[in-house]
Amino acid sequence: MKRIKYALIIAGTISSLTGCTKLNESLNGSVAEAEFAKAQDIPGLLKACYTAFRGPYQDQTGIWCLQDMSTDDAIGPTRGGDWDDNGVWRVLHQQSWLPDNQRIQDNFANLLQIVFRTTDIQRFTITDDVRAQALFLRAYATFSTLDLYGKVPFRQVGSDVREAPEVLETDEALAQITTDLTTAIPNLADGPVYVANKWAAKALLAKVYLNKGAFKDRANPSFDAADMAQVISLCDEIIASSKFELETDFFKAFTPNNSQTSKELIFTLENTREEAGNVRFHWHAPTHYNQNPSGWNGFATLATFYDKFEAADQRRGVAYGAFTTNTGMRVGMLEGQQYGKGGVLLKDRSGNNLIFTRDVANIVTGNVETPGIRVVKYVPDMKDDWSADRDNADNDYVMLRYADVLLMKAEALLRTGKGAEALVIVNQIRAIRGATAFASLSLDNLLDERGRELYWESWRRNDLIRFGHFLDAVGTTRPAKSDNKYLLFPIPANALAANPALGQNPGY
């Protein structure tokens, strides 16, 4: 009997000290889905929609390198042991990329991450204003994805994320973007420009109509008159709002605090000195170590592109007020001897004069520090004592600009036989930039004008495809015309593996 008694006591002890647990997980530092559905932190979700733009739109590894480095306005040469980086930059410029390219992979995922966040927020109880912002942001990322990859994996609001997303092919994607924008426009605010706004949505919608025929067949772009009429009417609405105008100072749109000071901006990504995207790559990646602000001595532009500018065209580069006075650096394109404060001749690291030369190769040899004309379009956000630049720069990232709207209108006019009307618009821009007026407008000089105006703003590839020149040789760095398959980037291998519904783009 005693033994039984002990056994009972022990059994009791066991169960008193450790009852079986149900193994429910306490998540501590993160919020379970069900819990979040109750809390519904909508401002937090909306903010995450905006911050998701930083990686793919503001970084040198973002869509910038896909949209500009694949063209004649940018090159990322390998300089000795530097900037080899597994060859990712070179293949972009040479149009010889493969589906495993890190940039191609990451941007696909990062753009679609925006699509997800802007879709997911719509599951919750949100105001019309929030929904409109989310729809605009989704349309923007969807547009970029369609532009680069030719198709867009997409989810309906509230769909089970464990199931593979559906895939929007060109027509469906265009319809989705259009619906998102037209649904959003009535509920979008007038501004500020760093928040999704009515005018940004109209400008993006104009882009959609302008590119529709190119997206449907990139090798043979077409331009439906009805679409062009839409472009013109949307651009006219923006023009008629009188909210925007061209600045006499071209670079003002790219200065610190630009959203507040420049009237050219329609949509920007907000950067503050507390938190910012990597806008600073615009002055770090191209400039030399010995310049102020100091650079990473990397990216450049081609001399052929540089030569598209007239000398007096301020877009080619200017001394820029206090910035140049205090650092010696100009903005725009940097060619030839570089200077420090007070006109000091800068040297390279071997002690030779720092002279940015016109010629550049994919793999630079010899003196690897100086080849290539550099581009500094954003005016560096310097510290108060001009000792260096700021890590978190206050330059908002420019996404849509008034000059682009004017040029879109001009293009739509030109493509519908109204060249004279278009010429007036283009010459209006050229005049304010300090370039001489065109006598006539052709597709070629309009394309060049778009290049001069929008270089390094992630539009060059899109423009070249629409004008039929993306695959053209660009000189020694890409001496031959490329295969048609390069009109689209390949669907990354890891995305294909994860979603069988995604077909690979032709040729890859």
Binding site: G29, S30, G80, L98, F108, N494, N499
Partner: protein
């Protein structure tokens, strides 16, 4: 009756009730004393066990071999045994004194082996378990216990991730079975499972990178360990279920012995220097090279060595005081350790303060109730050198020192550091001495592991035991980088500082019921059932700031003085991991000839997906003691011969808790987003192992050993994959379809070549031949081995592919320099994937260990050597830190890349290629010890010994880096790399003098 008790009584812990309720068996006891000595030389045997046959009553002998035991009047026989000796039965006559002599046996199969949740006689063992006893441990300066068994167990590979004192190791038992992190073994200290990972916060700093992690076993004083048991096959590890797949290491600390109180003092002093210096150009060679390349302005006229400047002769002191004693029914041991190990790199080192208290108490007159207690407390203070695993083009301290222009003085004439002037431009050359001076990084990790384990003998055959433990660890780390250093990222923000506190808290409750019954003469039955609950929680907070104006104070001491606009806060609190398990084991022994063990464990974890809450891990093993058969029983040649065969299934659940669930996390500045893809099917990795072994001892057990074959197939491999976008940010945890197969043969051979009274020579050889293969995988390509250096962003060196070993090197084939001094590669462009090939494996094909002891009278010499063959090592150090391009950057280069007769193009890029892949074969004199035992000196000094140890005396290898036994962590997407060296903290060679005294 219980129900009738008032509520407050019910709240009295049940064990107090037990105390009150238990009745007492009355018996007339008598006292027997005696002494146990070695049959060979008559020396006293300390710690021999004396038990009354048929009971659990027992005592241990004291420092002079004597014992005193209470025996019941009915007792007939005493059983006397000692580790490493045979056991002897002495019948109890009328006298009160019984002296016994025991004979040493090298392959004593009565030896007890610690297995999961219990012990078994080695004779009864059916699984693959290797035991390393204290006397066989590696000697030298050891900051963590894993180093004690390096090269001592067949099939176990231990690599140093860093030479920093207290640095982490990579331990692989029977090869790498997991693609992801978590391929190391489970550590169990005195029955308490460790969570894996150190509470010391990880930290990175701009311009340097992240330093490697601390060894999670640092909290243990190696001097407190009496044995380490490595469970290798599934029949041994399946009792640990979902944590057992990659092997289990059981650490057993020293226990108190009854008898006279004993005071043991061990102290040692060590002197360390860098083991090997890399071959870089000397000042005069550098001048020549400058001339050959026509580089001007880089000869500064001095003659210095950057590595000499940042390394030093480092001193170590180590003291352990152990106190033990007690009575048969109340034994205790307390020990206190202090270790101060300087690192060979300036401003690095570890100070360890440890205290260990354990006791074994028996209660009731029947002695049926007992309580074991154990507390391991430690405080580990580290000074961490700025040596990172992922330094970019700026390099970390070792890279900076290797690169330092040997013609350039490190100090100016006035004694100040020679720092390249900024002139508004960032420097590209960093004075390693100045970087070391400007960088300060200190951590303190405080741990308490406490357990209490009451047990009660319900009947003669049935024992209940509980183990309640808690393990708390708090890591604090403070780091700052002074604003005067010419690293752009530091100077531009006027200095930076950060501090972090991380804490880990583990609780474990284990209940076991043990039944052992001799059913009849020929049939023994053992059975055990248990329940266990394990809970792990970790969290941390950190803050950082920039902009410090005064260098008179450490920045971390006046955060309030930092610039208010550049302060940051961070915290994390990971989901709590809970594991609930039921397990059982049955042992059957038929006539001591036929043995069988069957185990089963069911593990439920809250981090598993909802469709896989519980996993089941069975194992079965059979053994045949052939030597017990009649035809061998009388053999004078074969003493023991045992065949073992085992099969089992184990798991690896080393993925973070919360991984199966959809969650929302705050990602900064109020933004919140869904992270992680839910995966209700997520579960453990499953390994299925078959093991066959032969244990033998021959010629009076002078030759004994084990030969084993194993094959381990691991499937349901855990992988982190990017989520199919559009989808939640981050990753999805999946069990992928690949299979990793590890197979191999292991030999453990021991020989007592000379076995005389005053002359002994023993030799042990551990050899394993391993094969690793990855197969049947259909997902996206898996890469790892992130290669660091300028122009190497995104470069990688390893790929997992079907048909290849895990972590196979995959890169371009270097075909030499062309006429212009440009590197050429098979197929042309080394960056095109079609020009990359599988060019070798970092997994060794052969692991070797060799130990020998020669003792002549009181002198003995012990050598422990280990080696590995068949693996490749990637030398990222030469590629990134010492390549030819440095010659124009005012930096030094490796001798191996400078050939005056065929100059390499100085602006050549250095893509990943076989140019930097080297054979990693090595054989290392790990430690050599000369010791002299003074024996008993007087009544005061019961024993004393003195020894001299040389650690890392030499390595035989063709590898040109610091040490082929290296593994700088270079993971990609959480997939660990293997066998890459990148400017690591270099290993040291140490000479140590030690003294042991017993009072």
């Amino acid at each position: 009756m219980i129900a009738a008790l008032p509520r407050w009584v019910k709240r009295i812990p049940a064990f107090l009730l037990l105390l009150l309720l238990c009745s007492v068996v009355q018996a007339q006891d008598r006292v027997i004393t005696g002494k146990v000595t070695d049959s060979k030389d008559g020396s006293p045997l300390i710690g021999a066990t004396v038990t009354v046959k048929g009971t659990t009553q027992g005592v241990s002998t004291g420092a002079d071999g004597s014992f005193r035991i209470n025996v019941p009047a009915s007792a007939k026989t005493l059983v006397i045994s000692s580790v490493g000796y045979g056991s002897q039965e002495m019948s109890i006559g009328s006298g009160d004194v019984i002296d016994a002599t025991l004979t040493a046996t090298n392959a004593n199969l009565n030896e007890v082996v610690v297995v999961g949740y219990g012990t078994v006689r080695k004779k009864d063992l059916t699984g693959s378990v290797a035991t390393v006893k204290e006397k066989d441990f590696n000697q030298g300066v050891m900051s963590a216990p894993d180093q004690l068994i390096q090269g001592k167990v067949a099939g176990v590979q231990i690599l140093n991730n860093s030479g920093q004192p207290g640095g982490q190791t990579t331990v692989r038992i029977r090869g790498t079975a997991s693609i992801r992190a978590g391929g190391g073994p489970l550590y169990v200290v005195d029955g308490v499972q460790l969570p894996g990972g150190s509470a010391r916060p990880g930290m990175g700093v701009s311009g340097i990178g992240s330093t490697p992690d601390a060894n999670p076993l640092n909290f243990i004083n190696p001097q407190d360990i009496v044995s380490m048991d490595v469970l290798k096959d599934a029949s041994a590890t399946a009792i640990y279920g979902s944590r057992g797949a990659n092997g289990v290491v059981l650490v057993t600390t020293k226990r108190g012995q009854s008898g006279q109180p004993k005071l043991d003092i061990a102290s040692n002093f060590g002197v360390s220097k860098i083991l090997k210096k890399l071959k870089v150009l000397s000042a005069s060679e550098y001048r020549d090279a400058l001339g050959k390349y026509g580089v001007t302005g880089s000869d500064w006229g001095s003659d210095v060595d950057g590595m000499d400047a940042i390394t030093r002769t480092a001193f170590t002191q180590n003291y352990t005081v152990g106190l033990s004693g007690g009575t048969e029914n109340a034994r205790m041991r307390a020990s206190f350790g202090y270790m101060d190990q300087q690192g060979i790199v300036l401003k690095s080192g570890i100070k360890k303060y440890t205290a260990n208290l354990n006791g074994a108490y028996k209660f009731l007159e029947s002695k049926k109730l007992g309580v074991d207690i154990n507390i391991l407390a430690s405080h580990v203070a580290e000074d961490i050198a700025p040596v990172s695993t992922d330094a970019g083009f700026e390099g970390s301290l070792i890279g900076m020192a290797l690169q330092w222009n040997p013609t350039r003085a490190l100090r100016n004439a006035d004694g100040s550091y020679n720092i390249e002037a900024l002139n508004g431009f960032p420097a590209t050359v960093y004075n390693p001495l100045a970087v070391s001076a400007a960088y300060n990084d200190k951590s303190k990790t405080t741990s308490v592991l406490a357990s209490v384990s009451p047990y009660f003998k319900i009947t003669k055959d049935l024992e209940y035991r509980m183990l309640l433990s808690m393990n708390y660890s708090l890591g604090n780390r403070s780091q700052y980088f002074s604003n005067w250093i010419n690293i752009q990222a530091i100077q531009a923000v006027n200095g930076i500082a950060q501090t972090a506190n991380n804490e880990q808290f583990t609780r474990q409750v284990t209940h076991t019921l043990n039944y052992t019954k001799q059913i009849n003469k020929d049939f023994n039955l053992g059975a055990m059932v248990g329940y266990e609950y394990f809970r792990f929680e970790d969290q941390g907070r950190s803050m950082n700031a920039q902009g410090f104006n005064s260098n008179s104070l450490p920045y971390v001491d006046y955060f309030n003085g930092s610039s208010t606009t550049n302060r940051g806060l961070n915290s994390y609190h990971n989901p709590t991991a809970e594991l609930q398990s039921m397990f059982a084991r049955v042992n059957v022994n038929l006539k001591d000839k036929y043995l069988a063990t069957v185990t089963m464990r069911a593990d439920g974890s809250n981090k598993f997906g909802s469709n896989n809450k519980y996993g089941y891990f069975p194992s079965a093993a059979l053994a045949w003691n052939i030597s017990e058969e009649d035809f061998l029983k009388e053999s004078s040649f074969v003493n023991t011969l045992k065949l073992r065969l085992g099969w089992g299934r184990t798991g690896n659940q080393e993925f973070p808790s919360g991984a199966a669930q959809a969650r929302y996390i705050y990602i900064g500045s109020g933004a919140v987003s869904q992270t992680q893809y839910p995966n209700p099917d997520l579960k453990w990795e499953t390994s299925t192992t078959t093991n066959a072994g032969i244990d033998f001892s021959l010629l009076k057990s002078r030759f004994y050993g084990t030969i084993e074959y194993f094959i381990k197939k691991t499937n349901d491999l855990l992988l982190v994959q990017p989520v199919t976008q559009p989808g939640p940010n981050g990753v999805i945890w999946k069990n992928s379809d690949g299979v990793v197969t590890n197979s191999g043969v292991e030999f453990t051979l021991n020989a007592a070549i000379i076995d005389k009274a005053k002359l002994n020579w023993t030799v042990s050889v551990f050899a394993s031949f391993l094969k690793n293969k990855f197969d049947k995988y259909t997902g996206a390509d898996l890469f790892t081995g992130a290669i660091s250096g300028q122009g190497l962003t995104g470069a990688l060196a390893q790929k997992m592919a079907n048909g290849q070993p895990l972590n196979s090197f995959w890169m371009a084939r270097y075909t030499g320099l062309d006429h212009d001094g440009n590197a050429t590669f098979e197929g042309g462009d080394p960056n095109v994937t079609t020009n990359r090939f599988f060019v070798g494996s970092p997994n060794p094909k052969t692991l070797l260990g060799f130990s020998t002891t020669l003792s002549v009278s009181r002198f003995s010499v012990t050598a422990n050597m280990n080696g590995a063959l068949g693996q490749m090592v990637y030398n990222n150090t030469t590629q990134a830190a010492l390549a030819i391009g440095n010659i124009i950057g005012n930096k030094n280069i490796a001798k191996s890349v400078y050939n005056p007769n065929q100059l390499e193009n100085k602006s050549a890029s250095q893509p990943v290629s076989t140019r930097y892949l080297e054979k990693g074969d090595y054989f290392k004199m790990a430690n050599l010890t000369l010791s002299y035992g003074l024996g008993r000196i007087s009544n005061t000094f019961k024993s004393a010994g003195i020894f001299l140890t040389g650690q890392n005396l030499f390595i035989i290898t063709k590898y040109t880096g610091f040490d082929p036994e290296v593994n700088t962590p270079k993971p990609i997407n959480d997939i660990p790399s293997f066998g890459i060296e990148y400017t690591p903290y270099p290993p040291a060679r140490t000479i140590m003098l030690g003294i042991n005294l017993s009072l």
